[in-house]
């Protein structure tokens, strides 16, 4: 099986939610594993959750099915990893926050504002030479917005990386036993 590198052109996009113990060094273990197994990630975000003992890592990556399975198994071997779910896109709410600084003066500011209105995003800073836009949405919407704004000149861009959650009343962390230890 030619598994490696795990990420190849044309690989399918996957979003993984990884519940980990909220302990020092956990991110280093997870990130190190990705690097070691030649797993290119598009975005990675890590945050506290509704439970103090659990943190949640959301990873998006373009990856083939077989190496993905291997990576999930390897992740499961890390003792601080409690649960991993490969989220089903049809049953998932996925959002990303971006801040975009666009070059805009009086001659084209109204055009940019028209795009802002169309996409239902917000302006958070105005300057005679620029506009800073805050946008949230799924990746497709963000990409479309960026495609339109590119034309005016993007000065600076920052994306938070995707965060995602399954639809419905259940939580991923249900039945997951965390740890009362906060040290290493």
């Amino acid at each position: 099986m030619a598994n490696y590198p795990a990420s190849q052109p044309g690989s399918e996009r996957h979003t993984l939610s990884v519940l980990v113990e909220n302990r020092p060094g956990v991110l280093a273990r997870v990130a190190g594993l990705f690097a070691r197994r030649a797993f290119n990630i598009n975005s990675l975000s890590v945050s506290p959750t509704e439970r103090p003992d659990i943190s949640r890592i959301t990873v998006t990556a373009d990856v083939e099915a077989v190496p993905l399975e291997q990576i999930i198994k390897q992740l499961n071997k890390l003792l601080h990893v409690l649960k991993i779910v490969d989220l089903d896109p049809s049953n998932t709410v996925e959002r990303e926050l971006v801040l975009i600084k666009v070059s805009a003066n009086e001659s084209n500011r109204s055009d940019v504002l028209e795009i802002v209105r169309l996409f239902r995003v917000r302006v958070v800073d105005v300057n005679p030479e620029s506009l800073t836009i805050e946008a949230t949405g799924a990746e497709g919407k963000i990409d479309a917005l960026l495609g339109l704004l590119e034309h005016y000149g993007i000065i600076e861009l920052v994306r938070s990386g995707s965060v995602a959650m399954t639809r419905g009343p259940k939580a991923l962390s249900e039945k997951v036993i965390g740890s009362e230890i906060t040290g290493r």
């Binding site: 302990r23 020092p24 273990r29 190190g32 890590v46 399975e69 499961n76 409690l82 740890s179």
Partner: protein, 640 residues
């Protein structure tokens, strides 16, 4: 919703409030260092290896004449690690070593990586600078937890004395359970000097660690069904079966189904070689019968094996017609290199215990498949291509000893209870091919990582284990190469002073033999940097070192053998000496090669019994191979 907590995932060290109240006040008051020694005693640890140093001094201060475990002082931290490995394999227990911070910790990394590759249970305790000094580039500071992320099963940084017994209990349990492996416990000076209240037993808190040991679902009946439908089955047994102590079950399965047993390097001896179903080792230097049986099988039963590249050769032509049952305790090994038809996750011994009655049930309904033609084919291979060294090209041309003959003599003259240890290289392959293994846990060798220098310290560890578990009854023979031995030869001091009278056979060909073999076959005889000049058998070249003098410098017995008579006599003497280490310097032929051989990256079908003899190829291809009867034909296959 609960308020979000601060995210600790990024920080290396927990930021504990400075004036944290000691919440636990039950138990005996002591320092963290004393608690570490007490925890090891309460865990039942009987032997510990290591070297002291600045950042671990409080722990060594807590080791005294009342301590319940034996402490073995090595001369290099890498050796402490390998000795713990050798001890663990010989006894089946968790090996423990204690070393200092910084260079002490980095020196032991090789042993940690080796234990990780070969799934050897080991707890490595390293010293660390005080919590306040972490991250300041303090003297002898190294982030050993960070360094060992990729090569350890798990690791701890202990910053609080109160955590010591719990962490030790967890580390010991993690190392020995599931797929065994090395666990690093990095003990800060703060934790060693801090006061705590000791209590035992400790409650372990491991929510993310639940190894599966029993098979689930219908996989057992699926597997049994495959047995009833297969006419060319093979049991491919790996080190996992040794770790699970499953020798009895493997033999029972083979007897029940009639399937032959082939093993990987670490599983040699899992079923005694005297059993006619044992075909020996397969793979790069495996026997023709073993490799051939796997290549032609229609059912491959991998038992605690991981389809390593040294076993499979080119993966897409490995056992091409076989359906695969893969039994392993590590789910990540299933489907990593070969997609199995029946995956079974669980402890090998337990799974086989459950599988055997299931097969018996199936055999009662359907009859047993007829394996006679299969065994006829296997026996033909065994008869035509035995694992010997009596082909014309195997005979030394310079009057020196044949290395294979030396290894065989060692086996013939040895106590049947002997524990065999090897370094890494040609001698290791000859040892695994030619020694008559009759007991599991009697073969200790670095497989996955291939660590030269593993032999001597591992032999010391094995001897300590033999003294502990078997009253010293099992002798330990180390078969080492002159190159491999020199990587850790300082441990002769440990062997003498810690009273581990091991026997050392140096298969001295004066070169890095395995590398030289590849240079002969694949690099046009360009012997770049492989000459060691430590056994040239010439008057104008002084041997450096003189191994006999080296042994004597360490107050060990040293002997040398140039001829067969000298060799037989020296082995006899060595077997009689039991009060100190003995070393024999066997002067062997440097152009001896390890056969059979599959060139790296080639298909196992290309296996060469001797140059130009490819028994597993089609007759037409065999004739072609014979026509180009040179090493270069092997090289051509390697390039292809």
């Amino acid at each position: 919703m609960a308020t979000p907590t601060p995210l600790q995932a990024f920080s290396g060290v927990p930021k504990a409030p400075a004036a944290e109240k000691q919440s636990i006040v039950d138990g005996e008051k002591m320092t963290g260092a004393q608690a570490l020694v007490r925890s090891l005693e309460d865990l039942g640890v009987k032997d510990v290896f290591g070297i002291p140093g600045g950042a671990i001094l409080p722990v060594y201060n807590a080791i005294n004449e009342h301590t319940k475990f034996r402490f073995v002082l090595t001369r290099h931290e890498q050796a402490a690690g390998h000795a713990a490995e050798g001890y663990a394999v010989a006894t089946g227990k968790v090996g423990v070593c204690i070393v200092t911070s910084g260079p002490g910790a980095t020196n032991v990394v090789t042993a940690i990586a080796d234990a990780n590759m070969d799934s050897i249970p080991m707890v490595v305790i390293t010293g660390q600078v005080g919590v306040g000094a972490i991250g300041t580039d303090a003297f002898q500071e190294a982030d050993i937890v960070g360094i060992t992320y990729p090569v350890a099963k798990h690791s701890y940084l202990v910053t609080n004395a109160q955590d010591v017994p719990r962490v030790l209990a967890e580390a010991y349990y993690i190392a020995g359970s599931g797929r065994p492996g090395p666990v690093v416990v990095d003990l800060t000076k703060t934790a060693q000097n801090g006061q705590m209240y000791y209590s035992w037993p400790q409650r372990m808190i491991l929510p993310g660690y639940n190894p599966t040991t029993k098979a689930h679902g219908h996989v057992l009946s699926d597997a049994a069904k495959l047995f009833s439908q297969s006419y060319r089955p093979v049991l491919y047994v790996g080190g996992g079966a040794v770790r699970a102590n499953a020798g009895k079950q493997v033999k029972e399965l083979a007897d029940l189904t009639g399937a032959p047993i082939v093993t990987t390097l670490p599983a040699r001896g899992i079923v005694p070689d005297s059993d006619p179903k044992v075909l020996g080792m397969l793979g790069m230097h495996g026997g023709i019968a073993a490799t051939g049986a796997v290549q032609r099988s229609d059912l491959l039963v991998a038992i605690g094996a991981r389809f390593s590249d040294r076993v499979t050769g080119r993966l897409d032509s490995f056992a091409p017609a076989a359906r695969v049952i893969h039994i392993d305790i590590d789910p990540a090994e299933i489907g990593k290199n070969r997609q199995p038809d029946v995956p079974i996750v669980g402890d090998v011994a337990e799974v086989l215990n459950d599988l055997i009655p299931e097969i018996k049930r199936q055999q009662a309904i359907h009859s047993k498949p007829n394996l006679k033609p299969w065994w006829a084919q296997i026996d033909e291979w065994r008869e035509k291509y035995p694992t010997t060294y009596d082909e014309p090209q195997d005979a030394p041309v310079d009057g020196s000893l044949s290395p294979q003959w030396v290894v065989e003599q060692l086996s013939k003259q040895a106590d049947p209870e002997t524990i065999w240890v090897a370094g890494v290289g040609q001698h290791q392959m000859w040892a695994s091919q030619l020694i008559d293994f009759e007991h599991p846990h009697s073969w200790i060798s670095s497989g996955g990582l291939g660590t030269m220098g593993f032999g001597l310290p591992a032999a010391i560890g094995a001897k300590v284990g033999s003294q502990r578990e078997f009253n010293g009854r099992k002798p330990v023979w180390l078969i080492d190469g002159d190159g491999s031995f020199q990587m850790t030869s300082e441990e002769l001091a440990t062997a003498l002073l810690d009273h581990t009278p091991i026997k050392i056979a140096i298969i001295n060909n004066s070169v890095y033999g395995m590398v030289r073999q590849w240079q002969t076959l694949f690099f046009n005889h360009h012997y770049s940097a492989t000459s060691l000049a430590d056994g040239e058998n010439r008057d104008d070249i002084v041997d450096v070192p003189d191994f006999v003098k080296l042994a004597e410098a360490y107050d060990c017995v040293g002997m040398r053998a140039f001829t067969k008579d000298e060799a037989v006599e020296a082995i006899k003497k060595a077997n009689e000496i039991n009060d100190r280490p003995v070393l024999i310097d066997f002067r062997v032929w440097k152009d001896a090669m390890v056969w059979p051989m599959v060139p790296a990256g080639a298909s196992n079908d290309e296996v060469a019994y001797r140059p130009g003899v490819r028994p597993l190829l089609s007759p037409a291809a065999q004739a072609k191979a014979a026509a180009s009867n040179t090493g270069e034909s092997v090289a051509a296959a390697d390039a292809a």
